[in-house]
Subunit: 413 residues, 2 copies
Amino acid sequence: MAMEAKFVFRDQLSTMAKERLEPSEIGEMIKLTIENDAISFTAGEPSADIYPLAELKEAFKNVFDETSLLAYYKDDFGLIELREWIAARMLVDGIAPKWVNSENILLTNGAGEAIQLVSEALIDPGSVVLVESPTYTESLLTFRKQGAQCLSVPSDDEGIVPEALEDILSKRSVRFLYTIPNFQNPSGRTSSLDRRKKILQVAEKFDIPILEDDPYHYLSYDRVPPDSYLKLAGEDKRVIHTNSFSKTVAPGMRCGWAVIPSSLIKQMNALRVSAGLTRAAIVQKGLVNYLKSIDFNERVNFLCDTYRVRRNGMMKAIADHLDPLGIKTNYPSGGFFVWAEVPFIDDVKSFARFAVVEKKIGIIPGSAFFTQDEAHKGNNSFRISFAKVSPEVAQDGMLRLADAFDNYSSNRR
Amino acid sequence: MAMEAKFVFRDQLSTMAKERLEPSEIGEMIKLTIENDAISFTAGEPSADIYPLAELKEAFKNVFDETSLLAYYKDDFGLIELREWIAARMLVDGIAPKWVNSENILLTNGAGEAIQLVSEALIDPGSVVLVESPTYTESLLTFRKQGAQCLSVPSDDEGIVPEALEDILSKRSVRFLYTIPNFQNPSGRTSSLDRRKKILQVAEKFDIPILEDDPYHYLSYDRVPPDSYLKLAGEDKRVIHTNSFSKTVAPGMRCGWAVIPSSLIKQMNALRVSAGLTRAAIVQKGLVNYLKSIDFNERVNFLCDTYRVRRNGMMKAIADHLDPLGIKTNYPSGGFFVWAEVPFIDDVKSFARFAVVEKKIGIIPGSAFFTQDEAHKGNNSFRISFAKVSPEVAQDGMLRLADAFDNYSSNRR
């Protein structure tokens, strides 16, 4: 038998490590799906068949020709050439107002690191952070890790309800509002232009900033998304906007960014240094080489054409197999996700484990996406991702899922 | 005139952002050195002429052939192949005890990110962290950012003084001891084997963990360094060890690692996820391809041969130009740094600015390397780096530095 370790990390752990860390339910379900060799409706991950491998390979050929990229990179916020590309693109695409330039673009290890750095800058233990209901799990975990009390603002199919936001803000002191306005993860919802304007007015009235997370922006299958909060706010620089190349290029690039208003640049830079000085400039260089070698609009059109077929295939499979069961879903106009509500069971978390093990179909239970005060709402909901799912596999998977519901419910009768 | 931003981030800032962030003096002096086109004794950065550019280019050729590397990488702590290489190498080189295997190796964005994640796991606001005197600036900034009160333990040419450590631990509750045992940044000191054993005994007696930061391990020019704390502790897993490829391959790889004892793995994994899910597996793959394509011992010998010449050249220049002024320096047996104490001025920070602007020679003032309670010790000390300095440039730079001392002192008389 192995000798037991004398020392155990316990008394030395921080409050953060002892009380505020939770495992990611998404990560756990993805693992279970792989282990059970199941069809996956789990991951919000782009389909590997559409990574631009050949083009990236070509674009990375010369990154080792510039010695300076192998040093500690000198530009504070990352490779200036990529930051210029991003700023220019955001202006052209109407995502950013005119004040946004390369100096405001902070390159990060995916949008996740951007959200982590913003959390460090804005959250104290006990701070209230407002989120949509439901919202993205990993962001919730990051906010809570930093000590935030996450409160959900009632949302409907048009996004956050302005009156509900105003009601909360009139009672509570709040650090910021976190929103995923387009094709939201997990609900698939897109906030309307009218709603965005009203939400922004409320934010101005109560003087709170907005953290706008927009990773699905370009994955819009039916129409152009409404103006971003960042753009709508204009010169009133209360919006921090995060985004990434995970969906348009490949997640493995680990390249995200945040648009940082000038009054926050100094702090964000110090926080960035603390998290490992610089990020890999060779990756940033290869990525900008790639972006400059292609027609980005064509790339976006190709992605939208591909995912639209999958979205349509999934919605057909839902109509065929879930609608008859009385399971309620919405119709996403972009992104990767469909949200489903099940009126006839109240423990989707156990159901999801049953479905993946017994019927080889993986879904993410809704419980992952709610704040603690609303945890019950997750008991009868789940997230479906169609990102990697062909129409044929969608049919096969939905058959399995319907079968799982049938068996699970009968078992419990 | 530009319209002024209506919103300013101020009331919403966290205590961390408002009170605990400090600019890096090292970063500022490096910038001043570049701006003034000065000779640089500043950066603890490997010399660009010895980056293995051609070999890296070759090693990265096939990273885009494995689609899975472009996804969110599945292995929690990073590319398993690189973690296996690191664990095996640490065993072979006698840095790690037998329990260390790939499961304990967490890949990070440089050792800096490893230190940040460890800080999150172990530091609460007000926690006491013990550091050497002097110590590495960026680690101090990271500990303080997390709210630590950093206390310095008296150190001499053999490293931390065990009796002094015992004295502090008998009075204060401490979260951990941070040490750079080999060729310390900034002092150039190496802790003796005897000292390490004694320090470890004291750590065991008071049951505190040790964070051992060993980035200069392989840059040993005169003899093999003593056993690591990690190895000396053996089955008593109280040591977290951090390291990186910044010095042996290139800083721009942004690839560091931490050896995480089993009782801390779960927490470190949750913290890692929060800081951006995964790190770039393509870089980790290219790096391990490179490491497997070379004889690592030969690479290390080449590096040591190169830097030994520079160390010798710098020590000669110091003997020629600083010794006559009465400036006291030590003789580092590895790494990049020489520590200097100036008996005749007490504001090296202003002197360093004078030297870089007026005489075009950049050094890092000592004030960057001390805790707040010892800030005065930085007033008459500075760090010299010989990493990028040929013997010829060392002579030229030291002439300028001696000239600067001469002018600065006369100006103030």
